[in-house]
């Protein structure tokens, strides 16, 4: 592909945003309901959790890795947090004798679970040199199993209202979950663009040898990268659980695939070293608008899956051409 023409270059750079824009315009003509504030807020609420996951996963993909465990971390966080914040009036609590804890305790416990699994992923990848795919496949299965053990595969219901408020409340018209998503995106943007950590991630993914010879502590950075991904996953886990008002040990099953899809559509390259937060957010919104639009147009949810799958592959084909190094 000829990328030397300046128009071509600009088109290439902003393809993803143009696609998003065109989709939004098309849908607003096709369905009068699409452009209503309520619908747009709904799209954002639905995509916030997955969006946060995608941001975390994108960090690992930029470093030329992958994180398959994020879906399971959502599940584990869900049951860990929920089990600590069940209403005392409920008879079948996971921890019957538990005193009334302040809300931040279950939240921190959930986040700690996510960070821990993420850091273990990172340490395995850094110090045993097993491929990220395998390391995170293993922890995905382990985390899923831990959640099931904790709950015996039963849901964890009757959560206290102050916890549910996190997922269901809003600041003016904007739900808390959306605000958290925006905050995570801003933090991730700053991390990637304005910190040494961010430069290290790009260098490790772009050319690990160059990173090493420049004195970057690759191993330590990998632990942080996967730890961050775990943190994002557990934030998403808290939000989704609070919204669902119940802890479920299978809550996040297959979420990792949506997150990887969103990051990939958003231009994060599996060849490493490439990916931006605005691109990833565009990727999330494209998937979200697609889901929403197909629903509004009354298209079968099964067909939606087919369309989503095709879009992911087409996105990667374009991406590979775009990023091909000139020879």
């Amino acid at each position: 592909m000829n990328t030397s023409g300046s128009i071509g270059r600009i088109l290439n750079k902003y393809t993803i945003f143009i696609v998003l824009f065109v989709m939004a315009v098309a849908l607003s003509f096709l369905s009068p309901y699409f452009l209503t504030p309520q619908n747009l807020i709904n799209v954002l609420i639905t995509e916030s959790g997955r969006g946060i996951l995608a941001i975390g996963v994108a960090f690992t993909i930029i470093s030329k890795g992958i994180d398959l465990s994020v879906g399971s971390i959502v599940s584990l966080t869900s049951v860990v947090a929920a089990s600590l914040i069940q209403d005392p009036s409920y008879g079948a609590r996971i921890f019957p004798g538990l005193p009334l804890l302040p809300v931040f305790v279950p939240v921190l416990a959930g986040l700690a679970a996510g960070i821990l699994i993420g850091a273990i992923n990172g340490a395995l990848i850094a110090y045993t040199a097993i491929p990220p795919f395998i390391a995170t496949l293993g922890s995905m299965i382990v985390a899923r199993g831990l959640g099931l053990i904790l709950t015996n595969a039963y849901p964890v219901p009757m959560l206290r209202p102050e916890f549910k408020q996190i997922g269901q409340g809003s600041l003016g018209p904007i739900p808390y979950v959306v605000i958290v998503f925006i905050l995570v995106a801003i933090v991730a943007y700053i991390l990637l663009n304005s910190t040494k950590f961010g430069k290290n991630i790009y260098a490790i993914g772009g050319n690990i040898n160059a990173a090493r010879t420049s004195g970057i502590k690759v191993e330590k950075n990998l632990v942080f990268i996967y730890g961050f991904s775990g943190l994002c996953a557990s934030i998403a886990g808290i939000l989704i659980t609070a919204r669902a008002a119940s802890g479920i040990a299978t809550l996040g099953n297959n979420y990792e695939l949506d997150a990887i899809a969103a990051a990939t559509i958003g231009g994060t390259s599996h060849a490493g070293g490439i990916g931006t937060i605005p691109g990833i957010i565009a990727g999330i919104l494209i998937l979200g608008i697609l889901n929403n639009g197909l629903l509004l147009l009354g298209i079968s949810p099964y067909l939606q899956q087919v369309i989503k799958g095709v879009i992911i592959v087409v996105a990667v084909i374009f991406d590979m051409r775009k990023n091909a190094i000139r020879r």
Partner: protein
């Protein structure tokens, strides 16, 4: 100016089965350019890898500014002021010029050292580039730059580390004459700042233009160190190649038949220019040249692995269109690649499967099943014919020695019964005994009427085996020599293009 900034004493480095450096001494004077020369495999790169800690020496001392130092990795070397600019440049291609220069030590705000100060980074980069009179945009992505510019960035990076010693490994192999001039003016600038340069190159004219001193290595031994003014092209070449043909080459003189393969005016932009030659029945055509001259690229083009922009190919007088290896195999060719591990063997499969891999069509037992018995029979036949040493043909090929792996690959191609066999470095990394066996296999194949193109970096092998030798330099044929005219000096002369300055 006579002060030695660096001394390397009695450096020994062995690799399994090979003594790559045999007690080599080397020194470098402050503010000078010291050329390091020798044939492919003489130990130049190994010596430098000892210096920057990629392959630390087994024994010997490195004395830097009169202090003994131990360097176990490139970062230590950098911090001590030794920067190496590799032949294969190693940038983070997707990132900007300034991010590459300051990688791992970005300027930051305040004391926390976490938030990168992009303004300061830009400013420092601007100053650095201005200081070196380099016209580059600090924000540009490195992948958009030419090789020459990437090299300049590496040099700028070295300067930014306050390096006293800059090692350049074949820096001009991918540069145009103008870019070479620019590089040389940069080297002179470095010298004025008191920086010393170790300059590895094969190119005679460059050495005489830029170097102050020269050290020649041969087979892991130091041959000499002299001021360049005391040398001339003749003395340098004989220092580099001055060894006898000790190895025996079982060349069988056999009648050479009609022309089988004709290559006419091959062009590959930036790599090959106007390549024409022919190859006869029963002939071994040696192809000589320096690393990077385009020998492998030429073979890949003939075999359809690389696209040519012009030129035609005739087999037995008829034009043949070759766009892929499949076409080449149909036209009766076989190609034993240069890198056995990378493009030849499948390490985790058996000797048998590795042998039949390119000939599976020949074992079609119907319904897509393979005729196992015939496969085994053929495999055993070639195992005996080429005396492949393996416990059984079911053994994994990765457990065989390099020489035996190579024989398996030869067997793989022979199964297809090609008329034309292209062998790229057929004895690289193989011990002496196995080498002789491979040589006798090659000669025997030629005496059976096969046409053979043999690319080799080892001059004794080329001279011992070939009926004719084609010398390639910078993507052009600089000579086609008959067997009677072969000697190392002549080949080296053409390979370094002393007598051919056609640009």
């Amino acid at each position: 100016m006579d002060e030695n900034i660096l001394e390397m004493r009695s450096i020994v480095r062995t690799f399994p089965g090979v003594k790559a450096l045999n007690s080599v001494d080397f020194h470098l004077k402050k503010g000078t350019v010291h050329a390091l020369m020798g044939e492919n495999g003489a130990g130049k790169s190994t010596l430098m890898k000892c210096l920057v800690g990629i392959n630390p020496p087994d024994s010997g001392d490195i004395i830097l500014k009169s202090k003994k130092v131990t360097i176990l990795n490139p970062l230590t070397a950098l911090k001590l002021g030794i920067a190496m600019i590799y032949q294969e440049l190693n940038p983070v291609a997707e990132r900007s010029v300034m991010e590459n220069i300051w990688l791992g030590r970005e300027p930051t705000y305040g004391k926390i050292g976490f938030f990168v100060d992009h303004k300061a980074m830009f400013q420092k980069t601007k100053e650095l580039l201005a200081d070196l009179e380099l016209d580059l945009n600090p924000h540009q992505k490195v992948k958009e730059l030419s090789i020459a510019k990437m090299q300049m960035i590496e040099i700028a990076k070295a300067v930014s580390y306050n390096a006293d010693i800059v090692i350049m490994d074949e820096p001009t192999s991918a540069l145009t004459p103008n870019e070479v001039d620019h590089l040389f003016s940069m080297i002179r600038k470095l010298k004025q700042r008191g920086v010393s340069v170790i300059y590895i190159s094969h190119k005679m004219e460059e050495i005489f233009r830029i170097a102050d001193e020269v050290t020649v290595l041969r087979d892991g031994n130091k041959v000499l160190t002299r001021p360049i003014a005391e040398m001339n092209i003749g003395t340098l070449i004989s220092a580099m190649v001055g060894r006898d043909l000790t190895e025996m080459f079982p060349k069988i003189e056999c009648p050479i038949g009609d022309i089988r393969l004709e290559v006419r005016h091959f062009e590959v932009p930036g790599l090959l220019h106007d390549i024409s030659f022919d190859l006869r029945r029963g002939e071994i055509l040696g192809v000589s040249g320096l690393v990077g001259a385009g020998r492998t690229e030429l073979m890949e083009t003939i075999f359809g692995l690389r696209k040519k922009s012009a030129g035609e190919l005739l087999v037995d007088g008829k034009p043949v269109q070759i766009d892929s290896p499949v076409d080449a195999i149909k036209a009766g060719m076989g190609f034993l690649t240069e890198d056995r591990r990378l493009t030849g063997i499948v390490p985790v499969l058996s000797v048998k499967v590795n042998t039949v891999l390119a000939h599976l069509d020949g074992y079609n037992g119907g319904f897509g099943f393979l005729e196992q018995r015939k496969m085994t029979k053929d495999c055993i036949e070639y195992k005996n014919k080429l005396s492949i040493k393996t416990p059984t043909i079911e053994a994994l090929i990765q457990n065989l020695s390099g020489g035996n792996q190579q024989k398996v690959l030869v067997a793989r191609w022979l199964l297809n019964n090609p008329d034309i066999l292209i062998l790229d470095e057929p004895t690289r990394g193989i011990d002496v005994g196995a080498k002789a066996e491979i040589h006798s296999i090659i000669t025997k194949l030629a005496s059976e009427g096969k046409s053979i193109i043999m690319v080799s970096s080892e001059l004794p092998e080329i001279i011992g085996m070939s009926d004719r030798v084609m010398v390639v330099c910078q993507g052009r044929i600089t000579a086609i020599l008959d067997r009677k005219d072969l000697d190392q000096e002549t080949i080296m002369r053409y390979a370094t293009s002393i007598e051919n300055h056609a640009a």
